[in-house]
């Protein structure tokens, strides 16, 4: 079988991989994200004691969830509900929004698209996958819930239930969980296709937003598409490929073929608890990717965060219009960084003997 030809051999040790995650400013961005999440909890708790419950979670996305918080990051949040319908949920959501608005100098409001900064319901997220009713907002919430979300405060049960519900839903629709000889899990195609679709949707929406907003914010959006958006796509692919490649997971099958889907749900859940950068770091170690590739990838990403954390550079990107992109010095830097990032991703996805066959099989056609 194509999916089982290559055995894992680690060429980049765990210590080297952990060095990648220590490249400046990655540790400070992680620490800042953790600190901000705690501050948000304290801030909310002071105004709205017990603002979440076992049926509701306050979920954050974006750089705050990825552990990549920089000085001017947006606060993308959703009040996630997985329980009985209750009109008080709206009251709580409005109070949460008010707390954030009162502190808008510290916490910048989510973007204008309306995907964040409101309530989301588990039923749509779990049931409406594909089809007419799977709106752009629903798809975005669902995929980002999987690939870059975490909770504020102690109550994370609703978040946890919904994530598992979504993963389970994807796996239920896959007819065969194993390759033909039953020795390995297949790549979960339904989930993978939705992640690929989301990546393409983000790219298409980039053009749509350019038109809607008359080019405003082009530079920053383009930089994010080249880097942070691409990062979550890459990490999503790696999580899906891991279902087939992870040798520890395959050992569980041979021991007990029962409850296979439930094991796979738990595996995917464990993987997406990692941040996207951690998923990449783990893949570099696990699949024997060369140190040079890992270094290029992480250096590029670290430099991107430095640009975002530098207020003048960020402002310049925000003001930049497409017409000036070839001459703007900050954007030229972004382009150079993103080319290095893409080159490293190309090597990871198209040259690594374990990953490349899966990229060719599942990534395009």
């Amino acid at each position: 079988m194509l999916e089982s030809r290559f055995m894992s051999r680690s060429e980049t040790s765990a210590s080297i991989v952990s060095e990648f995650l220590q490249l400046a400013p990655l540790p400070s961005a992680r620490a800042a994200a953790a600190r901000i999440r705690e501050e948000l909890d304290l801030l909310l708790y002071a105004d709205i004691p017990k603002y979440t419950s076992e049926d509701t979670s306050l979920v954050v996305f974006g750089s705050l969830a990825r552990g990549e918080w920089t000085s001017a990051s947006d606060l993308d949040w959703t009040y996630l509900i997985d329980g009985q319908a209750n009109s008080d949920h709206l009251v709580i959501e409005q109070k949460i929004r008010r707390v954030f608005e009162d502190n808008k100098k510290q916490f910048r409001a989510p973007s204008q698209a309306g995907t964040f900064g409101n309530m989301a319901f588990s039923h749509d997220i779990i049931h409406q996958i594909g089809g007419q009713n799977d709106t752009n907002k629903n798809t975005t919430q669902r995929i980002l819930l999987l690939l870059e979300s975490t909770t504020i405060g102690k109550n994370s049960q609703a978040h946890e239930r919904v994530i598992k519900g979504v993963i389970n839903r994807y796996l239920e629709e896959d007819n065969h969980l194993f390759v033909e000889d039953g020795t390995r899990y297949r790549v979960p195609r339904f989930l993978l296709n939705d992640i690929v679709r989301f990546w393409r949707t983000m790219a298409v929406d980039f053009a749509s937003k350019q038109r809607d907003r008359a080019g405003e914010g082009w530079g920053l959006r383009n930089a994010k598409l080249r880097m942070s958006r691409k990062l979550i796509f890459a990490s999503g692919l790696l999580v899906c490929f891991g279902c087939n490649l992870d040798s520890q997971l395959q050992k569980k099958i041979s021991a007990d073929k029962s409850a296979t889907r439930l094991d796979l749900v738990n595996y995917i859940r464990d993987q997406i608890k990692l941040t996207p950068l951690e998923v990449l770091a783990k893949a570099i170690e696990q699949y024997g990717v060369s140190k040079n590739v890992g270094e290029e990838l992480f250096r590029a990403y670290a430099e991107f965060l430095m640009i975002l954390d530098n207020q003048p550079s960020r402002d310049q990107l925000k003001e930049l219009r497409a017409a000036d992109s070839r001459t703007d010095p900050v954007f030229k830097r972004v382009r150079k960084i993103s080319e290095a990032f893409e080159r490293a991703l190309d090597l990871l996805f198209f040259e690594n003997p374990q990953i490349a066959p899966l990229t060719r099989k599942y990534g395009v056609f």
Binding site: E54, D55, G83, Q84, Q157, E160, R161, K164, G165, I167, N168, N175, H176, L177, F178, D256, S258, A259, T260, R261, L262, D263, V265, N266, R269
Partner: protein
């Protein structure tokens, strides 16, 4: 065939005598004597010698689900009476304050996984942490709690696989959004079937669904459906 019985608390709240009479009339062969509230513990233990329990092939004892810290030594001393009879004692992890005081009960101490209202004890990670402190304790797996915490049943599967050696008893009911124990619905039966094959036939099943006497048989039939392994294999066959 699985041994299926009822909790006295499910049939009659705080009235174990009436519950035992119902069980005698309905020929239930397994029982869990329930003292869910702290003030029910001592009266129930004092009455143990006077109870007619010979018809039951399996007897377990449910300790209070919540206790004051001061009451913990009193409860431990009282429960020694139960331990002498070698009945499993079902404990909620958050009802214990000093785990070292409970260790001497060994595998008679049967730790139950919790519903979503409780601060601990819902997940495999929580339970594994508790068993580090109580290495000899056994597990009372509440399949209704597990479903409430994770409707996909993947957490349930993880717990059952990891702690299969500890599994001593099963609690079953449909745990609703208010964490009350309802009779099984078709929805919960489908969910339970997903992990039924991970529960050996020899593990006694205690029903916690709140039902009237005339619904006891029907509930037992539904429990049999929910735990029927032939259904599971049909569902899990990939």
């Amino acid at each position: 065939m699985r041994l299926i019985g009822f909790s006295t608390g499910a049939l009659t709240r705080s009235d174990f005598r009436t519950a035992l009479q119902i069980m005698a009339r309905t020929h239930v062969q397994a029982v869990e004597l329930s003292a869910l509230r702290q003030n029910e513990l001592i009266p129930l233990i004092e009455d143990l010698n006077d109870m007619e329990l010979r018809e039951f092939r399996y007897i377990a004892f449910h300790a209070p689900s919540l206790m004051d810290c001061d009451f913990e030594p009193v409860a431990i001393k009282a429960l020694s009476e139960v331990a002498l009879r070698e009945w499993p004692m079902i404990m909620h992890p958050d009802a214990m304050y000093d785990l070292s005081r409970w260790e001497h009960f060994g595998d008679l101490l049967c730790i139950e996984n919790m519903d979503k209202r409780k601060p601990i004890g819902q997940t495999l990670a929580h339970l594994s942490e508790i068993f580090k402190f109580l290495p000899r304790a056994s597990l009372c797996f509440d399949i209704g709690h597990a479903r409430q915490v994770d409707p996909t049943m993947s957490e349930a599967a993880a717990i059952l696989k990891c702690h299969k050696g500890r599994l001593r008893q099963l609690h079953i009911s449909e745990v609703n959004s208010q964490s009350k124990h309802d009779p099984l619905s078709f929805e919960s039966i489908l969910a339970f079937q997903k992990v039924a094959h991970l529960i050996p036939e020899t593990v006694p099943v205690i029903v916690e669904s709140r039902v009237n006497e005339d619904a006891v048989d029907e509930e037992i039939q539904n429990v049999r459906k929910a735990l029927a392994v032939e259904n599971v294999l049909a569902l899990a066959g990939d």
